[in-house]
Amino acid sequence: MPLPDAITVDSTSARTALQGALDSGAIVVDAGRRRPFYFDGRFLTAADLVADQNYIRARQSDLAQAIGSGVIRGLMVSLGGNLATNNPQLVIQPGLGVTPAGDLVYIAEATPLSLAAIPESQIVDAQLGVKLLANAAVGNRTGLYVLALRPIEFSANPVPAYPTTLDGIRSVHDGDIIEATAVTLIPYPDRAGTENADDKRARVAREIFFEGQRPGVLQEALPLALLFIDNGRLVWLDVFMVRREIGAEPTIAAGLSQRPRALLEAWFKQHIDHVDDIDAKAMSDGFAATRYFDVLPPVGLMPAATLRFDPGAPGGSALLQSFFPSLVDCEFAFVPADEVASLVDGALGLPPIDLTASDEDLDQLSVLVLAPVTRSRLTRLKRELENVTRIVRPAAPGMLAKRLPLDALLRVGQRPSRLVSPEMVRAQALDAAWQSALTEAQGLVQRQNRGCFWFVRRRQLPYFAEISGVTLRLAGNAADIDRTVNERVTADTQMKFVTDTAAGFPKLVQAETYNLFAADRLRVSPSFATNQLGTSDLLRRGAIEDFKLAANKPDEDKHAAVLDIARRYGDATLGSGYDALRAAVDVDVQKQFADPNVVAQLAVSGVAPEIDRAARVLSGDQLQAFAVKVASAAAAGNVAALRSLVAQPPQ
């Protein structure tokens, strides 16, 4: 029989035994967890009910501590109002968190806070028992502050208290205890002397993330953001410097890592926010990392402008970087954009990059610079560049330091070559391809990633979950492609132009053409035979029209042109925009979309996939209006209007 988990003392001997066990430490009792013992006939007092209440609260608090302290959801701090008017507003999004002491802090709806309205909070100060210091003048405060949440309780809603004697006086007491949350501003212990705002941010990041300090952390408060205020003016807001979220920690660890996963993730997000705060000019000109950062997380963003291709660099054409110190080994690579997430995830466990480390340490540091591109573009780059990775050399300052003595001697004795050999021509072509690929990638990130490439610290000991097995290429049924295309030629006479024309193309282009037109997305819809064209028919006709343009290009450009069509029509969700357009309008407009003449206009506009893409981000009334515009422009044969409907018509 197992030992009982509830012990009741109902005899003298049992009491003696229990006392003995308590004295010897065999049974330990937590006096903080005390609840009433109920029985029929017991006189129930307020104290009993309070004890019951407190017991549950203590258990919940202990459970919350077991979950860990931090933000459970929401509680994001953002900016509102307008800084230009010097009336900055902080907005705390609704959410929930746990303080290190295990108390829940909860904000039900977005709460705006005005930094300029601090005088109003003096009332709150007094009520909460905070004593004002003489030097804490409001208007001109300067320094670092942690915005934090504290659990507060106050009583409200008076209810009558009934007298227990005949001559007692009836009084009124608050009937409810409201569990509220106070938003407080706590000074961050700033031990630095005079320094500018950027230096301050870099230094604090170093203290918190690199050195692992935990200044200003309170047992009873949940930090949400760090602010730097200069004479009452908000200079920067850094949320992830102090905000930590509750989440899964990897359970397998050797215990050697100095930083928990939550801290590393916060650092990465802090870095992204920090880069976002750097002004546009610095980003477009490029800057050395040391200008804004003391330490960098093992993976992060760097301005693409700090990378340039120099065909005339000493020692031959080279990629040069000016972001990292010159002693750092750099390599550049194009990667598919969807792989960045797993690269970031995998690299977070690596040691950070200390930009102020000694030369010996920096010399051992190796960094990979990544330019995200789409998969189709990567395929093209592989063909054009032969290799999508390349060593990056530091721009001029560190060159001498990195050059081996033997290299220097060889260069002394080397005469400039004047003969133009076939190798040189090839090398020049390759240089030009690199130059244009880099410029293209820089342009792409300018639009999508605020002009930044990614950097990832490389492992000293490379390991991959990569299989070493020999690969075997499997064939599909190539006859399926021919059969599919032939079926489409039979069903849609316009397809005949494609097959007839492609027959005269270079063989590789011919294969790509068949690949393109065998895609399921360009299939012949069941209602096509009855002249009711579906979305896939519309897209196919669009591709045929674009193909006609490609067919007119010189042979050497045909491949690129067909690949470009394949890229535009290879979008994963292509067609859902037109489906949404059709679904958003009434039957008459739907009929227009199925009308062969309307489809023909959409096809010749050359922007059929772009219209689809535009429709995908719209909803509700916007979508309906857009659908009507598209349908009417196409019905009117107004190709120019169709083109103007999308932001960026193709060249």
Binding site: A64, D125, I152, E153, A341, S376, G469, G476, I481, A518
Partner: protein, 873 residues
Amino acid sequence: MEVIQGIDAPLPGERPLAVVPPLAPYVRPEQVEADGIRKRLNLFAQRALTHVALSDEQAARINDTALLAQAVSAGVIDGLELAIESSTTVTPGTAGDGGVAGPPITTITTRFMLMPGHAIAANGLDVELAYPLRFDPDDIAVHGETLGHWVPEGDALHTRIANGDEIRLGELMKPDVDHRQPLDFLPHAMVLVAQPVTVAIREASEELSVCENATDAVDSPDIAWEDGFRLVWVPWPKERALAPWTADGTAMDTRFRNRLAYTIFDDERHPLELDGIRSVRRMTESRAPDDPPPPRRRGEAPPPPLQQPWPWEEIGVPLALVGFDNAFRPAFADRAAVVRQGGGPHNRTRLLRMAGDDALWQARVAQMLEQVAELPPGERDAPQLVTHFERLPPAGVLPLDAMDFEKKRQSFFPATYEVQVQPVPLDMVDALMAESAPLASLNLSATDQVQVLVPVPSRFYEPDLLNLDERIHPLFDLEISRLEDERLRLLQRRDALRRRIDLLTKAASGVLPRYAEDDPNALPDENGALDAMASARVRDVQVVAGNTAHWHGFQGAQAKLPLTPGDALMVFVRFNAPVASLSVRTRVMAMADGRLTLQPAGFYWGAKPVEQGLLMVNAGALPTDDNGQVPTNTWLRLLAPVTLLDRNAAGQGIANPIANVSIDTLEFGVLTADTGAGITWGYCGTLNGGLESYWVADAFPPGSIPSTNSGPFTWSRDDGGVTEAENNSWGVSVDGIKGTFNVGELATLAATFEGAAGGLKREIGEDWSRSSGETLPAIAPPLIEQGLAALIVRLDQRIAAADDHVEVGFLRARTDIYRLRNGVLGTAMAGRLLTSPAAADLVQQSESPVLTDKVFADYFDRAKGLNVPPRTP
């Protein structure tokens, strides 16, 4: 109002900015409800406890638990799988005008089965189902608010929705129930959601509500809140793009399911939270208070749209995305599209926008697995799959029959895909899947690259495993051939040694050793004894064509072969041309013509041989190979259970049943067919219970008289590559023993003592060196039967008996001498000369010589009876 817990120990310079909700003396109940304000009862003496107060306290505790539960990721923790069950009933048509029955009516009944499990909703409330639940989808209510967006303006349903009426799915069908048609506006995709609810059955009865002063006489009303969940259909939200469910208005588009799933997956990659702007730079760049962010530059990609939560996420726990066909019957239930793994710590804010998280990645993998598993096997190849899938997850599990490694073909991905395949150790699969799961999904309409991993247990892993047409280097063949030769040589050597052990053991102990038929260490291609026959000493016979019978063998073997009922006679044989039959014959005592005589008895395989006596039993046909042909030039093992001889083929009785008889004769017969043949006879022996022993091996048994009916038989060595020197070095050479044998010293002994009374003749047999003649020895010589060990024992016994005679004679002579001395010299002197004091004592005690003689005889017997261990040298 009173602050109960303030900031008791503020940090220097700490300033509270606000309190949420603001400090106030009154917080109204509706405010508590609307703003989710946390509160509890302030309990003090003299306060009134109303049901409102107690309910508030209850609600506060539930609310706190739910808040804390939000630290756990929302979703299905385990179970809650949904299955669709369809049954079709055909009823005969009703009789119409003229009594002609109308067409039969087909009714399809669809029901859902929800399996037990539990889950937790995003708001922290959990649901649990303890038993399998079967329900009709038409009985489930449709979520009014979401439905309201689809209902056309002016429809009466709006009023019902506004009133909060429960509208069941079945109600939204047009009245002609047998040919149910959904109302036009209904979306063909809905999500089944388990909405946490709490239920109390409250009957408006005065009796139940009146307090009866809590006396025992009156039962207190048993009213309680009970937690549970309600199943709700949540239609696809109107404001989200819904893929067209059909192309022709009747048949469901096979891609509908995949499109719906990926609409949800794509949406889930968008950032969920309203992040707002955290960059002071961005705020400074905005133009006026509360302005939207600056306009995008030309060409700049729009920021990813923020994800609005799907309605079902806010209502409860989604269980499955269900697609409906034209009659609005459930066509599929896609679980992975909406179900996410719940329980455990939830994920933090994503590191990158648009990346998704592991719950989404896992769902994508599960969705494909679920949908592929539901397809019939015939529809899992590329042309069929394209009609079901537009998108596939970046990592997943493929059906086994999608790949054909021998033909190097795959039929799962379109031909436009570049598919590479690699073997991978099984334990690495999860790590590789985890690495690829976050990547972009595969688009079957585009060209792409895929790597197929074939998981194999680590012990079978080889990088080249799938390279099936690899040419084997000739060295392998050479080495295998060398090792096979070596193995054969060892087997032959083992066999030769066994035969010598047979000989020595039989000679020493009189028993033939037995060996396991199946060598436990044998390799699959190893033929054991058949292989070993290659070097055995065998007998060759040449028989001419034309139904010619030939036999040879031996008779009168002194080392007989005992047969027991479990034995099977076993003989090895080989021939170079087909023969009509083979036989093995011995002689047993049997009843024939009313007399008990020695009769030939044996077995034959194939055609019945002529002149083979009355007890020849057919032991089956000659063995054949895979082509049904009798194999030539290969060793065969023929087996015949000796119990077959118990049957009397000619109706005659066998006087001595075959049990426990010993045979001394064996003849090997052959009957040729149209062609002559060379037959080689190998070993012969018995097989019993998996143990075999050989009687005829390198030579006939000792004492045998060889015989043949026509033509000679010759002993030869079936040279298996064993040299004579090797053969000699393996031990006793058996080549010298050919039919007759010379036992050396024993023969000399026999010659010397043959005629002596009680001499050795009995032990070593009569006619010891006889080499011919038919006469059997009158007494079987036990030397051959029982072996040397038994002979030694017997000789020992004889020597001991002779010793006894001598000893007794000597004792008697001593007694007589003592008595004589006693008479001549007196007792004292006679005793001195007596060597044994015991004898003297005996003589002195006995007065008469007769008595003394008896006493001495008794003493001798007693002394003999004592078991005195022999003195070791």
